[in-house]
């Protein structure tokens, strides 16, 4: 087992920069999710960690060994890294046991020892008795488990997951999520988990690295990402935060500041030292929205849409001061708001976003 250090890694394909100076420190035994929209560079990052792609600049270290740098690339087969591929990548011409035992055979492990370790790995994923089956005769979830067992049997330093749930149906996803969490707890393996699904990342990871346009935008715990997003992109990407312009008038010493949001005076949480500046944006959560009476502190606008979702409705509201900044929130039954109707909203709190999106 070892930690992983990604140190200022840049990757260019001809003129296109897929990764721009990414640095991530994964602690030994940590479960780290790399989260981002498609095209953000997360797959490139995974292929670099695995050794399938070379870095253009920067370094990747496994423990204290350098495995990737511009003039060194340890081959994937020599990195002791396990990968769980998106479509499992089980070899169709081998049985389950042969699939799992392949890397041991390559490493010339003697047959009795090999059989013992294959059986152990099958047990670890609760697939005893399936050794002689062909991968084609397994269900999606079972194949996933065989893929897990295959990468475990070699006792890797690090396991990479490449969007392992993307091909599964919804109810299987939930149970596989439980299985991955359980697997991490039991084995204590260092895991890097690539996904574009925010709820998956939140449910599993100790920390999440949010990527966008080849950059690492924020690396934090799920709780921090939600409550203290670093940039407008993270704020709106994580749980659909509402990003609104504010005027900051003063900073308190306790990590809060006074602000004005479309005329409503509001106390925002903020980074210590953050204060009045131009172009300030706040991240507000839909649970912090209240419908208020005319005349109370707040701001006016129009209800654009009401989407009934069973027991509650999602309301989309256009503030008069900035109609393009849609505010959405939830009204439980009985739903009284109607599209086209005017209303007055107030926020009870929010977070002053400390950084701008990189250009």
């Amino acid at each position: 087992m070892a930690g992983l250090t990604i140190d200022n890694v840049t990757k260019s394909f001809h003129a296109f920069q897929a990764l721009k100076g990414v640095s991530i420190d994964v602690r030994e035994g940590e479960f780290l999710a790399v989260l981002g929209p498609s095209g953000c560079g997360k797959t490139t990052l995974l292929r670099i960690i695995a050794g399938f792609e070379k870095v253009s600049a920067g370094e990747v270290r496994l423990g204290d060994k350098v495995v990737s740098s511009p003039d060194l690339n340890v081959a994937p087969e020599n990195r002791r890294i396990g990968i769980v591929f998106q479509n499992y990548a089980l070899w169709p011409h081998m049985s389950v046991a042969e699939n799992i035992g392949y890397s041991l055979k390559i490493a010339k492990v003697a047959k009795p020892e090999r059989e013992r370790r294959v059986a152990e790995a099958l047990k670890l994923v609760d697939m005893q008795g399936y050794g002689d089956r062909a991968p084609a005769n397994l269900s999606g979830g079972q194949r996933q488990r065989v893929a897990l067992a295959r990468c475990l049997v070699a006792t890797p330093e690090l396991v990479l997951f490449d969007e392992p749930l993307a091909n599964l149906d919804v109810h299987l996803r939930a149970s596989m999520e439980d299985e991955f969490a359980d697997f991490h707890k039991r084995t204590g393996t260092t895991i890097v988990y690539i996904t574009h699904d925010q709820s998956e990342a939140m449910a599993l990871a100790d920390r999440i690295a949010v990527m966008d346009h080849g950059r690492l935008v924020q690396l934090d715990t799920p709780h921090k990402l939600y409550h203290e997003p670093a940039t407008p992109m993270v704020a709106s990407f994580i749980s659909q935060g509402i990003v609104l312009p504010v005027t900051v008038s003063g900073a308190g010493a306790d990590g809060t500041c006074a602000a004005d949001l479309f005329g409503q005076p509001l106390t925002l949480r903020c980074r210590p030292g953050d204060g009045p500046r131009d172009g300030a944006l706040a991240c507000c959560r839909s649970e912090a929205v209240q419908v208020v009476e005319p005349g109370a502190p707040g701001f006016d606008g129009k209800i654009e849409r009401v989407i009934y979702q069973g027991g509650l409705a999602r309301i989309e509201f256009a503030p008069d001061a900035a109609p393009e900044r849609i505010v959405h929130f939830v009204q439980p039954d009985p739903v009284t708001l109607k599209p086209g109707q005017s209303a007055r909203l107030a926020f009870v709190g929010g977070w002053l976003i400390p950084e701008q999106d990189p250009a």
Binding site: A75, E77, N78, I83, N87, L90, S103, A107
Partner: protein, 567 residues
């Protein structure tokens, strides 16, 4: 750690060097030698041999004939192939798989066998015409001994090629495009004219170019049908000059073979030009077109299709088999006069024919096995290591097959006329020069199914093995080879079938003791022993059918689309 990763790179470099060396020797060197002979024949740059070659009236006539039958054969093949592809792919005719099988089979039969079989249908000695009492008097020329006859047989030989390419193109059309036209009120013929044919244009153009190259390079059909009428095309002219003059006329025929290559190239460039101007890249993975219900036209259309299959397949093969059972020229076939003597003679008695069976069998088997094993690493590089130079590799591998076979044969003679330098081995006038030409010419037939197979395999399967610690050659052996082996087998089988009755290459390269079946059939026919030629041809056809059936047994394990006659 570092040194081990170098080891993997070392294995890759070794692989690339191996592939590069083979492809260089088989594909590049012969053509280089041919080019050198045409413009540097005396050691200095000169256009004299080109000028001499082109000042000859016979050459111009043969060139004109080549273009005439090439274009005629292409137009006829495209019309026939496209119509059959439309009917079989878009309508609800029944027994579709059998129709595909029957229509594609002529492609599996060697051109000279097709020619021989059709000659038995018409003409004064036709057993079929005798049978129905309509045979013309002895001495009347066979109507197929004419440019029209050549075009007709080229169309039958190569319309399956058009059919396969256009059918594959039609099956990729998303059904929404047609349904959108239907809901706009367009009738079936209008949809074919305004939606389907325009979208199938790239496939049709590609098929036409390939057919043109095949028609221009075809030797068997114009040799059997054109030489008796003194209607020469460039391949048959080269054959006659070389047969008459031997190595002394090599420089001259080298120019002629370059002329064929240029004509073929023009076809390919025209295709490139047209397909770059009309790029209808079709995206989407939607379901295939729903078959169009023919209604009360179904039975007539089906009847017409089966009649067509009778004419292109059953009729000539019947002629061939009946001729192989006849005692002599002009003898009417009756229940009493049927004989198997011809078969006994070619298998047991005729020494050269027996040698030819052995030679062709050995040559085809060697070419097939060689290609199977070389195609796996070549396909690996072409399909999975995309780069600028893999495109070059692909083109170089395709070249000896894309260019007419006569071109490669002349190149091979030029290369091996003198013993190989340093080694001092003499290949000319032995069976080994034919083997060299077969390896070069048929390699691509093995590479194509393998590339196809690689593209249908998820690359992650190899990466998973790499993660498991396996280096390149280990991955090749334990992961890639088992998965790609069926595709390589299919390629080997196609090569075996094609090479077994091959004539174009061996007609120029054979020598006494190194005859092939194609050469033996040709010389029997030229010597007037049609019955013996027919007997060998019938055996070849039977053997081909048996191989097709055998391949069907493991068709389920193959990547889709590698066996042309399977739907």
């Amino acid at each position: 750690m570092i040194s081990r990763s170098d080891k993997d790179r070392g294995q890759f470099l070794a692989l690339i060097t191996f592939i590069g060396l083979i492809v260089f020797v088989l594909s590049f060197l012969p053509l280089l030698r041919l080019l050198q002979e045409t413009v540097f024949s005396g050691g200095t740059f000169s256009l004299d041999s080109i000028r001499n070659g082109l000042s000859d009236q016979t050459v111009w006539r043969a060139t004109r004939n080549t273009i005439v039958v090439g274009l005629g054969g292409t137009v006829a093949s495209v019309i026939l192939g496209v119509v059959v592809a439309l009917i079989v792919t878009l309508t609800d005719v029944r027994m579709r798989q059998w129709l595909v099988l029957c229509f594609v089979t002529p492609l599996m039969i060697a051109p000279q066998v097709t020619a021989l079989a059709w000659l038995q249908v018409f003409g004064p000695s036709s057993p079929i015409l005798h049978f129905i009492g309509m045979a013309p008097p002895l001495g009347t020329p066979n109507p197929l001994y004419s440019p029209e006859g050549i075009v007709l047989l080229l169309a039958i030989q190569y319309s399956p090629l058009v059919f396969l390419i256009v059918r594959a193109g039609l099956r990729q059309l998303p059904r929404e495009l047609v349904e959108a036209a239907q809901s706009s009120g367009a009738g079936p013929f209008r949809i074919i004219a305004t939606i389907i044919l325009p979208l199938a244009t790239p496939a049709i153009v590609a098929a036409a170019a390939l057919t043109f190259v095949s028609c221009v390079g075809n030797f068997g059909i114009p040799a059997f049908l054109g030489i008796p009428a003194n209607y020469l095309v460039l391949p048959t002219l080269i054959f006659q000059r070389l047969a008459g003059g031997g190595p002394a006329v090599l420089s001259e025929v080298a120019v002629l073979s370059m002329l064929i290559a240029v004509i073929a190239m023009i076809g390919i460039f025209l295709q490139d030009y047209f397909s770059s101007r009309r790029d209808y890249r079709i995206s989407g993975t939607s379901a295939a077109l729903a078959p169009y219900a023919l209604g009360r036209w179904r039975i007539p259309v089906e009847a017409a299709m089966w009649l067509l299959m009778m004419v292109i397949l059953v009729l000539p093969l019947t002629g061939l088999i009946l001729t192989s059972l006849v005692r002599g020229y002009g003898v009417t076939l009756t229940a009493d006069s049927v004989t198997l003597d011809n078969y006994r003679f070619v298998i047991m008695e005729h020494i050269a024919a027996r040698r030819a069976f052995a030679n062709s069998f050995m040559l085809s088997l060697a070419a097939a096995i060689f290609a199977m094993f070389v195609a796996i690493p070549i396909g690996y590089v072409i399909a999975w290591h995309k780069g600028r130079w893999t495109k070059v590799l692909n083109i170089v591998v395709e070249m000896p097959y894309a260019l007419p076979g006569v071109v490669l044969s002349i190149a091979a003679i030029l290369m091996f006329l003198k013993p190989i330098p340093i080694l001092g081995i003499q290949l000319y006038n032995t069976v080994w020069i034919i083997l060299f030409a077969y390896l070069a010419r048929f390699l691509v037939l093995g590479v194509r199914p393998v590339v196809n197979g690689y593209l249908q395999i998820d690359r992650a399967l190899e990466e998973a093995a790499q993660i498991g610690g396996a280096r390149l050659l280990t991955r090749m052996r334990t992961i890639i080879f088992p998965m790609i082996a069926p595709a390589a087998m299919a390629g080997g089988l196609l090569i075996f079938m094609t090479a077994l009755s091959e004539l174009t290459v061996s007609a120029l390269l054979w020598s006494s003791g190194a005859e092939t079946l194609g050469v033996i059939i040709f010389s029997f026919e030229q010597g007037g022993d049609t019955k013996y030629a027919a007997a060998i041809s019938a055996l070849l056809v039977a053997f081909t059918f048996a191989l097709m059936l055998f391949a069907n047994l493991f068709a389920k394990k193959l990547p889709s689309g590698v066996l042309p006659w399977r739907d």
